[in-house]
Symmetry: C2
Subunit: 141 residues, 2 copies
DNA sequence: ACAATACCGGACAAAATTGTCCTTAATTAT
DNA sequence: ATAATTAAGGACAATTTTGTCCGGTATTGT
């Protein structure tokens, strides 16, 4: 469904959202520890999220990463890492798959995709952080 | 969503279903031509589908491939190529993601997955062949 | 029998994804 | 100022996925 990088990205964002509402920074080690991901690879994904303006970063001692100060949907995270592919491209891989040039599965999957897009575009990171803070939702194992 | 191999597999199966209801065989060239896929790679996927008992094959002149004589769901095709991964594994990649050890997105995606599984397990190849035969659904471009 | 056809299967190659290493640049605290 | 800390970024390595090539085997028609 999502690439491995995108799975990490979602966990990163949810984690950073759950770690203090205010201004606290989490470093690379904190992040990769919290989500149990390879450190160097996690660094690359953090960079992508910073460039996509979903995270702020600060260097130097006591530096780290922080979620940008606004509401962020799961869709924004997915698009930042995996692009629009999942949202818009044909499940059978047709270059042009539209109402007047549909693949055989077009209608069936349209409904599923709309459902998925609905969830991704209406679910905010803040909707998910609660369970992590309370300790009844998990980011690893 | 699906691997490229799985996309090809679905197109292959739909095509073979649309090409005569009865006993006609289609060769590798027919298939890869009909779905616009690389021939040698298509051959590999055809082999996998034969081994998964979704296709029959016959060698020699006038040989080729044919859909096995029974109803086949999209789910069977997807599982044969991509495995259970899409159906059962956690969208955030947790090894164990269940009711009592859920990831933060567990509930949200459970609904999407159920929807997807519903479509895959209740849609038969025969439900899709009509549009291809009539020429208003397409397997390439 | 023999030649032509068409699938089988193993080895190999290319590309994409995932993951690592190491140097540089920025910032902080002493 | 200097040393310690932390992100940035480039190069590289491993793995997986996608795709190719070619000799082997079965089958058909003559």
């Amino acid at each position: 469904m999502f690439s491995k990088a995108c799975e990490y990205a979602l966990k990163i964002m949810i984690y950073l959202c759950s770690v203090e509402g205010e201004a606290k920074l989490a470093g690379l080690k904190d992040v990769s520890g919290a989500i149990d991901s390879p450190e160097a690879f996690t660094a690359k994904i953090l960079q992508q999220l910073v460039r996509a303006n979903l995270l702020d970063s600060l260097r130097g001692p006591s530096g780290g990463f922080r979620v940008v100060q606004r509401s962020i949907t799961l869709q924004e995270v997915v698009v930042a890492i995996d692009g629009e592919r999942l949202m818009s491209s044909c499940v059978l891989g047709l270059k042009e798959c539209s109402g007047d040039h549909p693949c055989p599965a077009h209608d069936k999957f349209m409904a599923v995709r709309d459902h998925l897009n609905g969830v991704l575009s209406t679910t905010y990171l803040s909707d998910l952080k609660g369970g992590v803070i309370e300790g009844n939702r998990f980011l690893k194992i």
